[in-house]
C-alpha cells in the first residue's frame, strides 16, 4: 500500500518528542516563529486558516478559521478574551488527543500560541480530561519548558505578543467536553451547558469573548502556517481537507490511532491500518466516529471517512473514532451499553434528555433482557425524535438519539429477533464487549 503523506503523527513517532529539545529539532514552533518574524497580522493568520478549509476535529466539524473570525473586533471590544482548549476527550472510542498530548505536547502549545495570536487571547486554558494523567503531566511539563524558553508568557519571541497557558484537570464528566459545559466547569461551577445564544465568542468564560477549540484542530494550525493553506488542501477532500486522526477500536486485529487523509474509505482504514476484523470473522456493525454517531451496517463500510459523505449516509464523522463490532456481537447489547452511558452522563437540565436518556436505557435493557415488546421498537424511534435534533440546550440528547435512530433503521431485525425470542440470541455466548469503554 502506498502510504499517504502524514504530518500530525510525524514527531510522535520520534523518541522523546515530548521534550522541547527534540520537538524543536523536528520543527516545533516553526509556525509561530514565522508569524512573529514576518509580522503577520491576526487577520492574515485567520485568513490562512480559513483558506486551508480546516474543520474542527472535536466532532461537529465546524470550520476553525470561521469560528475564530466570530471573536469581536478588538478595536471595538476591549474586553479580555480567552481561548479554552478542549482536551476533555471523553467520546467513547476516542483517544486521538491523548496521543498528541502525550507524544507531541509542544505541537499543541504551538497551535495554542497561533490561535491566541489570531484572536488576541492573552490567556488560554487547557481543560484536560481528569483520567489523562500522563498527557496532563507531559503537557504541563511542556508548558513549563516553553515558558522557560520565552514561548509562553509575556513578550514571546521578543515581541509584544503575550499568551499565558493554564492547565485544568476535569473531574470525569462527559458533559464537560461540551464547550459551554466546559466553560461552566472552568469557572468552578457544575458542568451544565449554557443555552445558546449567547455564543461563547460574545459571552464566554466569565462573560468575556471566548473560543473553544479541540486539541487536534489546534494541532493542525502550525502545519498550515508553516507549509501553507495550499499544501493543506492537497490532502483530504474538497470540503474536508487535511489529514485526520482515526482511532480504531473494537473487534479488530490492530487497534490504534492512525493518521489518514479525510475521505479515505472506512474499509481501507479497517483493512490496511487496523488489520481487519479479528479472528477471521466478518464485520457486523460499526460506529464511524464515536458512540454518538449512527451505528452503520457492514454493507456501508465502503463509505469515505469525511464530514459530508457520512452525513449523507445518516451518520456523522464525529471524532472519527471507529468502533467495530464483529458478527458475534449483539448490537442491542452494544446499544444498551451506549444508552447507559448517556443516561449516566446527561447533566439533567433539559427534560427530554434527563428523562429520555434514562428511558432509552431502560428500553434497550428490557429488550436485551428478553422483556421487550414489539411496540418498544416504534417507541425507541418516537422517543429519539422527541429528544432531538436541536430540542435541548446541548447536543447530548442528539448524541443519544442518533445511534438509537440508526439501530432501528439498520438493525431492526436484531431488535425484532430479541422481542420474538424473548432474549438475546447470543446470550450465554462470550460477549466481547468493547468500544464503549468511555
Amino acid at each position: 500500500m502506498s502510504e499517504p503523506a502524514t504530518y500530525l503523527l510525524e514527531r510522535s513517532r520520534i523518541e522523546s518528542a515530548h521534550t522541547m529539545e527534540v520537538a524543536r529539532k523536528h520543527g516545533a514552533y516553526r509556525g509561530i516563529e514565522k508569524v512573529l518574524r514576518e509580522g503577520w497580522t491576526p487577520e492574515q493568520l485567520i485568513e490562512e486558516v480559513k483558506d486551508s478549509g480546516l474543520r474542527g476535529r472535536g466532532g461537529a466539524g465546524f470550520p476553525t478559521g470561521l469560528k475564530w473570525s466570530f471573536m469581536p473586533n478588538r478595536a471595538k471590544d476591549p474586553r479580555k478574551r480567552y481561548l479554552a482548549v478542549n482536551a476533555d476527550e471523553s467520546e467513547p472510542g476516542t483517544c486521538k488527543d491523548r496521543i498528541l498530548m502525550e507524544c507531541d505536547p509542544h505541537g499543541l502549545i504551538e497551535g495554542i500560541l497561533l490561535a491566541a495570536y489570531a484572536m488576541g487571547t492573552e490567556v488560554a486554558y487547557v481543560y484536560v480530561r481528569g483520567e489523562y494523567r500522563l498527557p496532563y503531566q507531559r503537557l504541563s511539563n511542556a508548558v513549563d519548558e516553553a515558558r522557560a524558553a520565552g514561548l509562553v508568557g509575556q513578550g514571546i519571541g521578543g515581541t509584544d505578543f503575550a499568551c499565558e497557558i493554564w492547565m485544568h484537570k476535569g473531574a470525569g464528566a462527559y458533559i464537560c467536553g461540551e464547550e459551554t459545559g466546559l466553560m461552566e466547569s472552568l469557572e468552578g461551577k457544575r458542568g451544565h451547558p449554557r443555552p445558546k445564544p449567547p455564543f461563547p465568542a460574545g459571552l464566554g468564560l466569565w462573560g468575556q469573548p471566548t473560543t473553544v477549540n479541540n486539541v487536534e484542530s489546534l494541532f493542525n494550525v502550525p502545519f498550515i502556517v508553516d507549509r501553507g493553506a495550499h499544501w493543506f488542501r492537497t490532502m483530504g477532500t474538497e470540503k474536508s481537507p487535511g489529514n485526520i486522526l482515526v482511532g480504531v477500536s473494537g473487534h479488530i486485529e490492530k487497534p490504534g490511532v492512525f493518521e489518514v487523509p479525510l475521505g479515505m474509505s472506512a474499509k481501507q482504514i479497517l483493512e490496511e491500518y487496523a488489520g481487519g476484523i479479528w479472528k477471521g470473522r466478518a464485520l457486523k456493525a460499526w460506529f464511524p466516529g464515536g458512540s454518538s454517531t449512527g451505528l452503520l451496517p457492514a454493507s456501508m463500510i465502503d463509505l469515505p471517512m469525511d464530514h459530508d459523505s457520512l452525513k449523507e449516509a445518516g451518520s456523522m464523522l464525529g471524532t472519527a473514532s471507529m468502533i467495530m463490532l464483529d458478527e458475534t456481537a449483539c448490537v442491542v447489547r452494544a446499544m444498551e451499553v451506549i444508552a447507559r452511558f448517556y443516561d449516566h452522563e446527561s447533566c439533567g437540565q433539559c427534560s427530554q434528555c434527563r428523562e429520555g436518556t434514562e428511558w432509552l436505557h431502560q428500553i434497550f435493557g428490557r429488550i436485551e433482557a428478553g422483556n421487550g415488546r414489539q411496540e418498544d421498537i416504534e417507541l425507541l424511534s418516537s422517543l429519539a425524535s422527541g429528544m432531538a435534533p436541536g430540542k435541548t440546550i446541548c447536543a447530548l440528547a442528539d448524541a443519544a438519539a442518533i445511534p438509537t435512530h440508526a439501530v432501528v433503521r439498520h438493525f431492526r431485525t436484531d431488535l425484532e429477533e430479541h422481542v420474538r425470542l424473548g432474549g438475546c440470541p447470543s446470550a450465554g455466548a462470550t460477549q466481547e464487549t468493547v468500544g464503549a469503554a468511555g
Binding site: 443555552p195 428523562e355 430540542k391 435541548t392
Partner: protein, 482 residues
C-alpha cells in the same frame, strides 16, 4: 416597543422581554415550568417551545423563554411542530411524575396538571417502574420537599440565588438522578423560604403550615395587603369555608413586592387567636359585660362630651378612611390625634421587610396624626380625664397590663377587636380585624395598598368607619356646632 405577530395578531411588545412574556401578555397560552418572570430564564424545561419565523428564514421551533423578540417576528404558538415538541416534552416530564394529584396540595393550581389536562394525554407509553425517591424531605421549618414530584425546573434554586442573593438550594447529582438539596442537608434559613412553595410549578415544595389543610379550589381568595410591616406587600388572602384564613400568598405588584413576601407576613394568618370582642361591652358591677351597641355608643359619646378626652389614640392598623373620620371625631371633641408607634422590631432586611410594624404609618402621618410610643402614651394618660383608643391591637400595642395598672386614673373608650382586660375601660365597641374590613394603607414609599374583607366580621360588628360615624352622630349637637 416593536411590532410582532403572535398567532395571527399584530401586537406591540417590549423588546427587552423574552418572547414568552409577549405571548403571555397577549393571551397566547404557552406553558412554562422553569421560566418565571421574576427569575433569570434558563431554558431548561423546554416546555415553552413555539414556532418562530424571522425574515425569509424557515420557521423554527424555539424555546420562547430564551428567545428575544425582534421586529417583524411571526410567532405561531399552535404550529403542529411546536405542539408536538411541547407534547413530547410533557411526556418526558410525566414519565416519572407520581400519580399523586388526589393527595397533592398543589392539585388545582399545578402547572403540570393543568397542561397535562389541556393536552389530554390520558395514558403514558412508559412501562418502566417510576423513580422512587424521598417523598417528604424536610428542608427546615417551612418547606417539605417531595423529590418524586420535582421536575427540576430550578426555580427554587434561582430564587435563593437571585432574589435573596443567599444561595441555599442546588441541584445535586446529575441526569435522571438529580435532586434538589441544600448543602449537607442543612435546613433552609431566612425569612423568605415560603416563596419557593409559591413558585414551585408542581407539588414538590409545599408549606408545612398548609400541608393537607385544604383543597385549593375550596379557598375563597381576595386581594389584600399585608399588615406585618410598613412595606404593605400585595397579598391574596385565602379563606376556607368563609371562616379560617388558610393561606396568605404574595400577589404580583410591580411597585411594592413583585412576586414575593416574607414568612413573617405569610404566616401571620390569624393575629387574634381566641376571643373576639362582641359588638359592644359596657362596664357594670361585674366588670365589662356584653351590651347593646346603641347604648354603649351613647355611653361613650356622653362620657367624652362631659369629660373632654386628652387624646384620641389610633392603632397603626387604622386605615386612611377610618383615620379621616377619626380626625373629624377628634376635632369635634377637641382632642389631639395620636397613633401608637411601636419600636422597630428587628426584622428589617434588604429585600422587603422594613422592620416597622405600622402598616399605615405614612398614611396616618399624612392625615395629621402624631406618632407616640407606648411609653409616652402611658406617661400622658394619668393626666387625662378620658381617652379614646381606636383600632385593632391598640390595647396590645400600648400594653394591656400597663393600661390595666392605671386603674381608674383615666376613663377609657375603646374600639377594639379583642375584649380588653383593662379596668379603666368604660365602654368598648367591637371592630373587625384586617381580614374583615376594607380600606387603604399607605406604605413606606407612599404606595396605597387596599385591604379587603376576606371574610365576614363577627355578628353585629359593623365596619370601624360606621362605629366612628355612630360615635360622631351620638355627640351632643352643641358640640357639633362648636
Amino acid at each position: 416597543m416593536i411590532e410582532i405577530t403572535i398567532d395571527g395578531r399584530k401586537v406591540e411588545v417590549d423588546p427587552k422581554q423574552p418572547l414568552v412574556r409577549a405571548c403571555h401578555e397577549h393571551a397566547s397560552d404557552v406553558p412554562t415550568y422553569c421560566y418565571h418572570p421574576g427569575l433569570s430564564p434558563v431554558g431548561s424545561c423546554r416546555i415553552c417551545q413555539v414556532e418562530v419565523q424571522q425574515g425569509n428564514g424557515p420557521p423554527r421551533v424555539v424555546v420562547a423563554c430564551r428567545t428575544p423578540v425582534a421586529e417583524g417576528m411571526v410567532v405561531n404558538t399552535q404550529a403542529p411542530g411546536a405542539c408536538d415538541a411541547r407534547r413530547e416534552c410533557l411526556e418526558f416530564l410525566l414519565k416519572n411524575h407520581p400519580l399523586d394529584c388526589p393527595i397533592c396540595d398543589k392539585a388545582g393550581e399545578c402547572d403540570l396538571q393543568d397542561y397535562s389536562f389541556a393536552e389530554g394525554q390520558t395514558e403514558g407509553r412508559s412501562v418502566e417502574p417510576r423513580r422512587k425517591l424521598e417523598k417528604r424531605k424536610s428542608l427546615g421549618d417551612v418547606i417539605v420537599l417531595d423529590q418524586e414530584r420535582c421536575i427540576l425546573c430550578s426555580r427554587c434554586v434561582r430564587f435563593f440565588e437571585e432574589v435573596t442573593e443567599k444561595p441555599q438550594l442546588t441541584v445535586s447529582d446529575m441526569g435522571a438522578r438529580s435532586v434538589i438539596s441544600t448543602f449537607a442537608d442543612r435546613p433552609l434559613q431566612g425569612n423568605y423560604q415560603g416563596n419557593v412553595a409559591d413558585i414551585c410549578p408542581v407539588g414538590a415544595l409545599t408549606l408545612k403550615e398548609f400541608r393537607f389543610q385544604a383543597r385549593v379550589w375550596n379557598l375563597r381568595k381576595s386581594f389584600s395587603t399585608c399588615g406585618e410591616c410598613s412595606r404593605g406587600c400585595a397579598i391574596t388572602v385565602e379563606v376556607l369555608r368563609g371562616k379560617d384564613v388558610k393561606r396568605v400568598r404574595p400577589r404580583y405588584s410591580p411597585e411594592v413586592n413583585q412576586w414575593w413576601m416574607c414568612d413573617t407576613g405569610r404566616f401571620a394568618l390569624e393575629p387574634y387567636e381566641g376571643e373576639r370582642a362582641p359588638a359592644a361591652l359596657m362596664r357594670g358591677n361585674e366588670g365589662l359585660v356584653a351590651g347593646d351597641p346603641v347604648q354603649a355608643t351613647a355611653l361613650a359619646a356622653q362620657l367624652v362630651s362631659l369629660h373632654a378626652p386628652g387624646a384620641v389614640i389610633a392603632s397603626p392598623w387604622v386605615t386612611v378612611e377610618e383615620g379621616e373620620l377619626l380626625l373629624d371625631f377628634a376635632r369635634r371633641v377637641g382632642a389631639p390625634a395620636w397613633f401608637v408607634s411601636p419600636a422597630a422590631n428587628g426584622l428589617k432586611d434588604d429585600l422587603l421587610h422594613t422592620g416597622d410594624p405600622c402598616p399605615n404609618r405614612r398614611g396616618l402621618l399624612e392625615l395629621g396624626f402624631e406618632a407616640r410610643t407606648a411609653a409616652e402614651i402611658l406617661t400622658a394618660l394619668p393626666d387625662m380625664d378620658t381617652a379614646v383608643l381606636v383600632g385593632e391591637r391598640v390595647v396590645e400595642l400600648i400594653g394591656e397590663a400597663d393600661l390595666d395598672a392605671l386603674s381608674s386614673a383615666v376613663r377609657l373608650v375603646a374600639l377594639e377587636a379583642r375584649p380588653p382586660q383593662v379596668q379603666g375601660i368604660v365602654a368598648c365597641l367591637g371592630v373587625p380585624s384586617a381580614v374583615e374590613r376594607v380600606g387603604t394603607w399607605v406604605n413606606v414609599d407612599g404606595h396605597r395598598g387596599t385591604i379587603a374583607a376576606s371574610r365576614a366580621a363577627a355578628l353585629g360588628v359593623p365596619p370601624t368607619t360606621q362605629t366612628i360615624q355612630n360615635l360622631i352622630d351620638a355627640l351632643a349637637p352643641a358640640e357639633v356646632e362648636a
